[in-house]
Chain length 470, copies 2
């Protein structure tokens, strides 16, 4: 056993920073057996030194000057837990240029700048690890790069945002509307004061960009990831999904046939028998398909002080092992392909459409006709028997107003005629064709409003069975 001491610096002492500090402390007695080295925390970089000093046992480690770290030759590993893309990015670059290895949980930065930073790490013979950036505590990056490396992966999809999964679970299990469930999530600390990045799917999109890049060995940036959130999902949608043996999950989807990549975030109807369907509350999970592994799923805590720190310190230990064995950059960038990302309108999927129409003879036939003209094959079309009241309830008015505000295709035309609801499930169809059909339906006089459009998860087997290219 070599008795190597490795200096470590921690940037940031927020939730994950403090968790990392604690886990490093908890592992102090064992890290030498696990890595061959004793890790020594030398600096903690913060903005407010006094506030930070109260949180740790060694206030003398606290600094507000990054140069203290950069100029300390004994610091070999920098742990970046500041977050965001500005100062964090500068620090990471400077650390790598100085030959210091970097471990980060910064999904914003990795999702937007993965390629450049990995190249920079490689040039400097450094490790750059970011397991904690995707799905918190759950090992995803390492399994994709190592244990599953002998696969041509076709699908990496997951529930990678705990806030939205908590909201959708409450909506499903307690019949809550979106707003109510969001309020509960905020109250319980599962949602941030500004929940936009979570509920609009941007947070999930960053993780999809990272997962897709690694799974398909081709760089996917967050800008390539088409994104739709869950703000339009209603309790009614979830009830319909349940009737069809499905639940609704916000899915981060990365799919590849080997020649191109599909990458998007959207709420989807998932069959109850799919492993992702039983992942509830704030849990995250990543489901993987490959030509050898068949399918596998990893689930666990996607966020939180100690779970995220588990992933961060796991990476730090791996870097330490590489230092001891002089093999840093042992696994560097694995993006050796240049696959195009498919435009969303060219993605094939099945769709769930719920539309409110005038209740008169011939409306159903008109709808079917629109789909036929747009070559959209319909799997099911159901006219719901429940009558819609002429005086919409306050809840329904609110729900529709909020939908309009979010730029939905909502056509509010409360006329005197009685309304009825039609639910359509399409076969596999190109998104562009489906959208044009929906626009056409939306423009029709008899259409009160497009209530919901939700994608329906379709396995590769079914895609193939239906003879559709993806």
């Amino acid at each position: 056993m070599k008795n190597r001491t490795i200096g470590v610096a921690l940037l940031g002492l927020g939730t994950v920073g403090l968790g990392t500090y604690r886990v490093l402390k908890a592992q102090r007695g064992e890290m030498i057996y696990k890595t061959g080295a004793q890790l020594l925390l030398r600096w903690i970089l913060v903005r407010n030194k006094e506030k930070a000093a109260a949180k740790v046992d060694e206030p003398e480690l606290i600094t507000d000057r990054f140069d203290d770290i950069l100029n300390d030759d004994q610091v070999e590993i920098v742990i970046e837990l500041i977050g965001g893309t500005t100062v964090a990015g500068e620090y990471i670059e400077a650390a790598l240029r100085a030959g210091k290895h970097v471990v980060t949980a910064n999904k914003d930065l990795i999702a937007s700048d993965h390629g450049r930073l990995m190249d920079l790490a490689k040039e400097n013979g450094c490790d750059l690890m970011f397991e904690a950036a995707v799905a918190g505590a759950i090992p995803v990056i390492a399994p994709l790069k190592q244990s599953l490396a002998a696969n041509h992966l076709s699908e990496v999809m997951g529930i990678v945002n705990g806030t939205t999964n908590f909201i959708l679970t409450r909506m499903e299990q307690e019949g809550m509307e979106f707003g109510e469930a969001l309020a509960l999530a905020t109250e319980l600390g599962y949602a941030e004061a500004d929940p936009t990045a979570d509920v609009e799917g941007m947070d999930a999109a960053r993780k999809v960009a990272i997962m897709a890049s690694i799974a398909f060995n081709s760089r996917v940036s967050v800008e390539d990831v088409w994104t739709e959130g869950i703000t339009k999902i209603t309790a009614d949608d979830i009830r319909y999904a349940q009737e069809m043996g499905c639940c609704i999950k916000l899915i981060g989807m990365a799919h590849s046939d080997g020649s191109s990549i599909e990458a998007y975030v959207a709420p989807m109807l998932i069959p109850k028998r799919h492993p992702l369907a039983s992942v509830n509350d704030s849990y995250n999970a990543v489901f993987v398909r490959g030509d050898a592994v068949e399918d596998a799923m990893f689930q666990g805590r996607g966020a939180g002080e100690l779970p995220t720190a588990s992933a961060v310190v796991g990476d730090v230990f791996d870097v330490a092992r590489n230092i001891v064995h002089e093999c840093n950059a042992r696994i560097s960038c694995t993006c050796y392909k240049h696959l195009p990302v498919v435009r969303m309108e060219d993605v094939y999927s099945r769709y769930f459409l719920r539309v409110e129409v005038e209740d008169r003879i011939g409306v159903l036939a008109e709808l079917a006709d629109v789909f036929a003209r747009h070559l959209v094959s319909v799997d099911q079309i159901i006219q719901k028997q429940r009558p819609i009241s002429l005086q919409p309830s306050e809840t329904r008015q609110e729900s529709c107003a909020s939908k309009a505000g979010q730029g939905s295709l909502c056509t509010q035309a409360e006329s005197e005629l009685p309304g009825t609801e039609i639910v359509v499930i399409t076969d596999v169809v190109r998104e562009g064709a489906f959208r044009r059909a929906v626009q056409c339906i939306s423009d029709k006089k008899g259409t009160r409003r497009i209530c919901s459009i939700i994608r329906v998860y379709t396995s590769d087997e079914r895609m193939k069975a239906e003879g559709n290219r993806r």
Copy 2:
């Protein structure tokens, strides 16, 4: 990119051997980008050369002499897929002594000889990897050694035998009896001609030994793992479990409080809300708890040609990376502790007991009294209302006969008096105390037979809440 060629030899061309051959072929164009090396298959060792030649494209690689491989200096990685503990063990030892790295799927050998082989590998500066030995395609060993290394793990439990999970799933979903479900598993190829190692839990015990050793950094041999199979489980047990919101799974359990280890295989009642409860059919899953990660679960294919090969070739790629970066034995044996394994009678658990007694006043009170005298605290005691017929049906007779054959505590005493069934759920209790209470109940005149004894999964939180040491 270094342009390194690494010679590989394959021992065995059975199901997994052929799968490995195929996956290596499928990855031929990409392995250099993934590992920095081109792997070149130089030998395939088989017993019957002619039979093997028909299976591969390069019959010239086939040999029946291990010395061809041992004496070939260009072979740097030996993939052992023969199985069993005799010749496979000799070959692995010889390969390691010759400085060749070894990848194996051999759970028998690793479970019984993990420590010695890891030491031998280390002495020779070699990698010895065995991801495929536990839960097939599912990454378990690598995550435990790397991504989750920053944890003190307290629990690693799982469904690690696909045959028994298939049988229990059919029993649950279709109300089949054990024999019927086993026959179906055999017919569909999920069970081997001699299913003993699977249904009696020995296969699972090997995986528990390996998982426990790695999770708790202390060597656990298969002999240390107390083992009970599923042959005594009846459709009735499963119905009772369902009434209680549980299912029955064959669980491989490894638990540690940091000072000792519990390691056993047994059917257990698992609450439906536990992630393992939704792992059905032939799928495997491993559930992990640690002080930082909280809980995580990995699920996927536990066996099969290509899934197992996925894990094997994933390891081969990792060894190749280590060769390229000259850091073999980078992660060697991690058993740096010497924790005792707790005797099963000292393990604490809750129990489900189903007993058939004479239907007369006072029987329930007598039972309660026995438990009280043995200091076994009872959570629930239920006298089932369904009357038991005086003329037992053919099925029941068979079931009881088969139980007697398997050495259960079955006390067959079909008397003239009407019988009734009592179900008891205990609080957390030491197994030894519980067993003595059951023996006492079994000896009582009014007891017809002990129908079932099944452990009830109890989380650490509940253990603590009940103030019980584990």
